[in-house]
Symmetry: C2
Subunit: 329 residues, 2 copies
């Protein structure tokens, strides 16, 4: 059984997801999460003739936005829950482990061999138990199914109303921190984050609503292709350095994205590395490849953002860092 | 002629440096500099039983606090100045280049061979001209002397009232951003930053003044030894990964430090690397070795900071980053 296909949690909203669900989610989790800061870079603004506002979600607890959705999903659990389980290449697993730990609920995370070590370690550090599996979708789902069969409750990574509403709180915060944004640019993997941001933006009158632009690695462009095809494509073999975006867009996520997204930009591997390098060297922020994808999209098409106030989501900062300086010491 | 021995600028204060000079400096440069943000790390606070407030000066223009002092020194120049010159292993040079560029004044920076490439590049990027010299104090001073003989005005890196007052604005900002600090921890190299912070703290009533603690690499512990000896030691062969702290404490700086500092902690090379690694991995901030030294001091003696509100200066973030991910792409 796929986590995404798991029975929805009993308290999940039965009506269509909307802005109000994001506001509810924010009320539930505001005290658990960080309100992450905004950073700006005058030299970049000058080069792009735009005002870029980086939403620093790599500074969120567990180092990615995933803690928002996980905290929100866990906040809906009740005392009958014996434990939660998921499969994850990393950030969702660590986020769920910490969110569950804070509720005193055990967590199991099925992770593919070859996952980023920093992400594997983070699950354990937050009290979760990692179960390794072969690096393919079937093994991941089979591993999770065993826990679900044993009575544990699955918390899917993106294709769930609670997860989407939780991730949407990032958009809510960003629009409160920065006035009059013309556009918000976010990476797309499974689509949990961008569909949440879309809902958050619906809270503004139409003529004040920022455009929502998604960015995908060209090697994981299933959302772009799905929009072109007007149906969710599932023959998807992601191949990208952006390990957090090697996912098929979710069903519920695609419904929302298809209806409301303004643009999707696809970027090369080299441009992701180049954006990440700029973020390290100039913004001095440790950002993982997936977290640099939104900036790569802006750098690819600066003409689409010129003269505008642009929110760019830095979605995570977990990666295996080299330690060359230890040799130098 | 040494930059530190150069004739003081005509408008330099002739009375003893005080808190008021820092306030004046802040009024002059507030519109030129960034008010750098404060970051916190709940997990670290829990581990240390303290409240740590990181002053993010690696996010200052040119990537270090040096831009404060350089901007202040340059703000006192007049139209007779044909150009400014200094010698620098890096951050002061880049800071001076940008500060001078903004005033339309040319800048020459004498830099030792073997300086961090990112720092060499930064001087050029900000419109300064780099002149390479042999990696020793004599060659640096001789290189600068040639420019001074040609009529250029020297801007020393730390041993000057304008530089000290300018760096002190960091302390002023930090104490405005964070209430009721018990202690401020700062690295010591030439002593420009910590002597400025000392002056900034004098603005508070004695019973509300934070303690000022300096941290030095054990391989560049001349301030510690000078305090013990009650005289400024000059037989100094710095040997440390913290390239920004390979300097002899200045005369004016030592006067102020000796009179007012509360404690000096010396830290090993391994502990500097370890602090830097934590800052990369957990705080997600790119910090250079010199910038991690203050945290290394706190981690060495957590008992001295337990239960306290501690301002820790992250003084800079310029280093030659590895690009292993480019291979992975």
């Amino acid at each position: 059984m796929s986590a995404d296909k798991a029975p929805r949690h009993p308290t999940a909203p039965t009506t269509a997801l909307s802005y109000d669900h994001v506001v509810d989610a924010h009320q539930r989790i505001a005290s658990m999460i960080e309100q992450t800061p905004i950073l700006t870079a005058p030299a970049l603004d000058e080069a792009l003739s735009a005002s870029i506002f980086f939403k620093c979600e790599h500074l969120q607890k567990t180092g990615s936005f995933k803690f928002r959705g996980a905290s929100h999903a866990v906040s809906h659990l009740d005392e009958h829950c014996p434990g939660v389980a998921t499969h994850s290449s990393g950030n969702h697993g660590a986020a769920l482990a910490l969110a569950a730990q804070r509720m005193g609920i055990p967590a199991r995370v099925v992770m593919p061999q070859g996952a980023i070590q920093a992400k594997v370690d983070a699950v354990g550090r937050h009290g979760g138990v990692v179960e390794h599996c072969a690096p393919n979708q079937h093994a991941r789902e089979a591993g999770l199914a065993r826990w679900v069969a044993a009575g544990w409750w699955p918390i899917p990574p993106y294709d769930h109303p609670h997860i989407i509403a939780g991730q949407g709180t990032l958009g809510l915060e960003l629009m409160r921190q920065v006035d009059a944004l013309d556009v918000i640019v976010s990476p797309i993997g499974g689509g949990g984050l961008i569909s949440g941001i879309i809902l958050a933006a619906q809270g503004l009158p139409v003529n004040q609503r920022p455009r929502i632009v998604g960015v995908e690695p060209s090697g994981a462009d299933d959302t772009y292709r799905s929009i072109q095809a007007r149906r969710r494509i599932s023959d998807h073999q992601p191949d990208t350095i952006a390990d957090g975006l090697r996912a098929l867009v979710g069903e519920l996520n695609f419904e929302i994205i298809q209806r409301h997204i303004d643009d999707v930009i696809c970027v090369s591997e080299a441009s992701i590395v180049s954006a990440m390098t700029w973020l390290w060297e100039d913004l001095k922020q440790v950002i993982e490849p997936s977290g640099a994808v939104a900036l790569a999209g802006v750098l690819k098409h600066p003409e689409r953002f010129a003269g505008q106030r642009v929110g760019v989501v830095l979605s995570g900062g977990n990666l295996d860092l080299p330690s060359p300086l230890i040799d130098a010491a």
